[in-house]
Subunit: 335 residues, 2 copies
């Protein structure tokens, strides 16, 4: 039924944990595309930690999602009707489709997928913002070099799994931090990480990192923040680099954890840096080629955690903050 | 009496605050200089926050001062006897003289002062490690550029007073954080800071920084760590840089403060970096010339807080951690 758009709007701002109670389902008529616009059928929606920040009253770096507005989400879709020159019906596109089955958007905000580089699921993960974040964060911000030790947290998550594999392909020794034996086994056996630390099973995470990284940590790629960051800071080598990519442990926390080990920076010349992947836009083609080549021949893999149906989107978002996803979390909306 | 050396040794390691009870006075015969050595009469001793770290069991980046060993300190002295070629008696030198009236040291560990660039008090402050730290920390690590806002803590202290003045000479807007009206008045009226914040009078330091830096902070030069760092992090602009130089608020603290605002880095591309001034050794001459030129014509000033007599050294060290120094703290040992 291409006349009706099913969507979820933001109903209320969560104080701490986000859940289905913060969203409202709606069905409404489809907006026919105006001049320069296209109507896109949503196929896949990416579920990202940043979405929890977007529904805060003040996300800081982007405008918040307004109450009553369609929940913001990036996704992959198929153009079903187009009033834009150069964008034909049937084209697969990437864009901020939102939590809805049919999105009417300016063609300028849609990017046609280059299917020579990868399929829709590649483009939502390893070739999308997730993969670009891993690629530029590790190589450019972290400056990881062959022979160095790279530590990555949320290592079985969307970005973490790619960071570890890219570092390994670049000749680094790679240690991943993840929750539970299944994730730890997978990153070592299937992805080739040199070691894994199950943070749920370690009473002293700093000591566990020291055992797994006997020469210390050259680059810590931080997806979680909080006490894990403290434990990593205690293990950085001289001129170590900490890449702050995310802080999922703190995103939904009622009380922020206070990081005590910043004093470790002094005397060790350590750098802590954050970044925004869009800053590297002029070099995306380089990353796409590098990633695509390695996806194709199997040197690089991505695990996608597929959840079925738009109705599952609100519950899926909550899964992220309980660490229940295993790989990149994606909602499959249509075939 | 050049046959007797008066010194202070480390008697006990302090748990938190350091005081005279941690040092022992001794008089012992002077070591005559052996081949390649010189006997140096101490004139001035620098009192630095790092000294509190050196007397910890594990300072991390340098060996600790051992119990019973002369307290380590850098200073300015005069060669009174020399068995080293190229180092004549009467030469003024800089070196790790320690808390003693007469030091016997290898000539290779002594640097003859270039009196064309400045006198002994210049060399213990603005031309010494203090000034080099301010110069390279601000310009190279912080990358402060004309028109940017620079915030500096401990702004009336040894490094802070120079950071603010150098930034101002480089065309930055400069805001200093200091304790008490006298220090705040001085940095604005005498040193030309654009504004000062008295942290002792501000219940909400982050809000006070926001008022004093309406466009946000481009470079925060941190000498204190702790809650002041948190308040600064809340005010950094996109691509802001935080230079971690010291953390005097935490050096002697029993319980480390937990920094909660690291999440501010994300989306703002903020960098936090520490450094060691010795990394810039190949460029000291450039800094000496720059600083010397400006000291000479009065564009750059340094306030030195002189304390008289070696006997005052242990109490002087404790003053630092109570914020009782006003300017760079120096013990005058002899004329």
């Amino acid at each position: 039924m291409r006349n009706a758009n099913q969507r979820f709007t933001l109903k209320a701002r969560p104080a701490n944990m986000v859940g289905p109670e913060h969203f409202a389902a709606e069905t409404l008529p489809v907006h026919a595309p105006g001049d320069g616009e296209a109507l896109v059928e949503t196929l896949y929606l990416s579920i990202d930690p940043a979405m929890r920040v977007w529904i805060n009253e003040d996300p800081g770096y982007v405008p918040p999602v307004a109450i009553g507005e369609t929940m913001r989400a990036s996704g992959i879709g198929r153009v079903v009707q187009s009033s834009a020159s150069g964008l034909a019906a049937g084209t697969l596109v990437q864009g901020q489709l939102g939590w809805q089955t049919l999105a009417t958007l300016p063609a300028s905000q849609l990017k046609a997928l280059d299917l020579a580089l990868g399929g829709p699921l590649d483009w939502i993960g390893a070739l999308g913002p997730t993969g670009l974040t891993a690629f530029f964060g590790l190589k450019d911000v972290g400056g990881a070099k062959a022979g160095e030790t790279v530590l990555v947290s949320a290592a079985a998550g969307a970005v973490g799994q790619l960071v570890g594999q890219i570092a390994r392909l670049d000749g680094c020794r790679v240690v991943g931090i993840a929750g539970g034996a299944a994730k730890c086994d997978w990153i070592v056996r299937d992805l080739g990480f040199d070691a894994a630390i199950d943070y749920k099973a370690e009473p002293d995470l700093a000591a566990a990192i020291a055992r797994a990284c006997p020469k210390g940590v050259d680059v810590y790629f931080d997806n979680v923040g909080g006490p894990t960051l403290d434990a990593a800071l205690a293990n950085m080598v001289l001129r170590g680099r900490v890449v702050i990519c995310g802080r999922i442990s703190q995103t939904a926390a009622g009380q922020l954890y206070g990081v005590r080990n910043l004093g470790q920076l002094i005397g060790r010349r350590i750098r802590i840096e954050s970044f925004v992947v869009f800053d590297f836009a002029s070099r995306y083609a380089e990353a796409w080629r590098w990633i695509s080549d390695r996806l194709r021949d199997g040197r690089l893999r991505q695990r996608i955690h597929l959840v079925d149906g738009l109705d599952s989107a609100p519950a899926a978002l909550a899964m992220l903050f309980r660490g229940e996803n295993f790989g990149k979390l994606v909602v499959k909306v249509a075939d």
